[in-house]
């Protein structure tokens, strides 16, 4: 088994502050009056992990832990400020599924556009289109404007398009909690099918149960720092322990290093 993803001590800087939405005029004024503040912080700081082909990694941590930022780095949308990250193979990233569609276009037009964005070819879309609409159960809406769909339907379509993919590396950000109960079962099944084809998968989820079920490795982040990386069950236990307020992160940190070494 070869290595699929290798991240070495990566840090990703994020900037927030006054620069957003201000015009040129405002920018010049603030620069002159020295009232221009930009705050930099490390959204991800010092994360190291390595995945082998076919691994299924779950990323856990509270809001603002840097999970989504890390996924963006794997997907190549952001570049690390420090350290290196290499993904060997074709990456398909499914981040915030429902967004990025165009409300004015029809469902069919949106499906093709999304397919194109995910890097599918036209022929592939032609072949798979009916399968996609079947899976999403949206035949009656095929030619309706996209904005008429409910948010659950939007996510269902997004998931169906995305799951047609046959990537080497699949990135999922909170996508398995899409749609109603029936669809969730269907999508979890589909996910297992993709994984069983040997795709390396990274999954962000707030459902620990889901992570225990699907993942064999877990990365625990807190405020951008890596608390632990290693065997799924063990770290999930520890995380649960921490969430219940019984343990503190410090313990985890020491163990994390050793767990990391075992795997390395």
């Amino acid at each position: 088994m070869g290595i699929a993803i290798k991240a070495e001590n990566i840090a990703i800087r994020y900037i927030t502050g006054d620069f957003k939405d201000i015009g040129l005029k405002e920018y010049v004024m603030r620069k002159l009056t020295r009232n221009y503040h930009v705050k930099e912080f490390m959204a991800v700081d010092g994360v190291t992990f390595e995945l082998e082909e076919g691994d299924m990694l779950g990323i856990i941590g509270s809001n603002g832990a840097g999970k989504s930022t890390l996924l963006k780095a794997v997907a190549g949308i952001m570049v690390p400020t420090r350290g290196t990250i290499n993904a060997y193979g074709e990456v398909a990233a499914l981040l915030e599924l429902g967004s990025g569609f165009d409300g004015d276009l029809s469902v069919k037009e949106n499906a093709y556009l999304r397919g194109a964005m995910l890097g599918y070819t036209k022929q592939f879309m032609d072949d798979k289109y009916s399968e996609i609409i079947d899976f999403a159960g949206l035949w009656e809406f095929e030619n309706r404007p996209f904005k008429q769909l409910s948010s659950g339907m939007k996510s269902r379509l997004a998931f169906s398009i995305a799951s047609m993919v046959n990537p080497d590396i699949l990135i999922l950000d909170e996508v398995l909690s899409v749609g109603d109960g029936a669809f969730q079962t269907k999508s979890a099944e589909k996910m297992r099918e993709i994984i069983s084809r040997g795709a390396t998968t990274i999954l962000v989820s707030h459902s620990l149960q889901q992570i225990r079920e699907l993942c064999n490795k877990v990365l625990w982040l807190d405020h951008g720092r890596q608390i632990a990386f290693g065997e799924a069950q063990e770290i999930c236990d520890r995380y649960e322990f921490y969430l219940q307020g019984k343990g503190d992160i410090g313990d985890g940190n020491i163990d994390a290093t050793s767990a990391g070494c075992d795997l390395g």
Partner: protein
């Protein structure tokens, strides 16, 4: 093999983006595409009404003179104004999917180019009606058009990047284009200016492209090698600057949206 695969994928994305821009632009207007043809004609009509007696009396083929200027200028203005918002309007996409960001601008430019093509066809109809001889030299018109397309792409890259950083660029740019229009000798002749004044006009890329077209169509002459070089120079510089900005800022755009 890999490059072919990549090209195929990008081509599909590109054509889907073009299709999207097109549907969105024309779907909900009754006149649809016709409007984008009528609008420059109306402008031409108004300008002709206002200026033909005032400024046009000693310019031969004044309608064509005016039309040539209006044709080039409105292509530039349409393409850059549409292009400016192209990157920001697709922020939801490029913050979630790793796609080549210049695609959004390029696809917008396709619809501007098609509009231009239609207006150009009408322009030729006017040329014939005006009794101008169409000669083999008209083939040379491809040259300024190609330069202008590249110049528009370059300016579009620059503007769309700037627009992500500073939203008020839009207002500044509309004032700038207005100024540029008056300085492009669209409805007046520059014959009255001194030699220095005439040379100053060459600092305006749009004037250069207009001059080229008029030289071919109205004067039936192939422009000097210098005009060729200047025309290409502007487009290459604009494109290179735009390319460098995109390359440098490729991963910073997402902080600003």
């Amino acid at each position: 093999m890999k490059t072919i695969q990549k090209f195929k994928k990008n081509y599909f994305l590109f054509s889907e983006l073009v299709r999207r821009d097109f549907t969105k632009k024309y779907k909900r207007t009754i006149l649809g595409m016709a409007w984008s043809v009528i609008s420059p004609l109306l402008t031409l009509f108004v300008m002709h009404l206002v200026f033909s007696n005032l400024l046009g009396s000693n310019i031969s083929h004044y309608t064509i003179y005016l039309f040539a200027g209006q044709l080039i200028f409105s292509f530039f203005s349409d393409s850059t104004n549409e292009g400016m918002t192209s990157l920001l309007n697709n922020a939801e996409i490029f913050t979630k999917v790793n796609v080549p960001k210049y695609m959004f601008l390029f696809s917008k430019n396709v619809s501007s180019l098609i509009n231009f093509g239609i207006t150009l066809a009408i322009f030729f109809a006017f040329v014939l009606l005006d009794g101008i001889d169409v000669t083999w030299k008209f083939v040379f018109l491809l040259y300024p058009i190609l330069c202008l397309v590249i110049f528009n792409l370059g300016m579009g890259l620059i503007l769309s990047a700037l627009y992500v950083f500073f939203r008020d660029i839009q207002y500044l740019y509309s004032i700038f284009t207005l100024l540029l229009m008056y300085m492009s000798a669209i409805f007046y002749s520059i014959d009255g200016f001194s030699q220095i004044g005439k040379n100053l006009f060459l600092l305006n890329p749009i004037y250069v492209y207009i001059r080229y077209v008029r030289k071919i169509v109205i004067e039936g002459d192939i422009p000097s090698i210098w005009l060729h070089l200047i025309a290409a120079g502007y487009s290459i510089v604009a494109f290179a600057v735009g390319y460098l900005i995109y390359k440098k800022k490729n991963h910073s755009f997402l902080y600003y949206v």
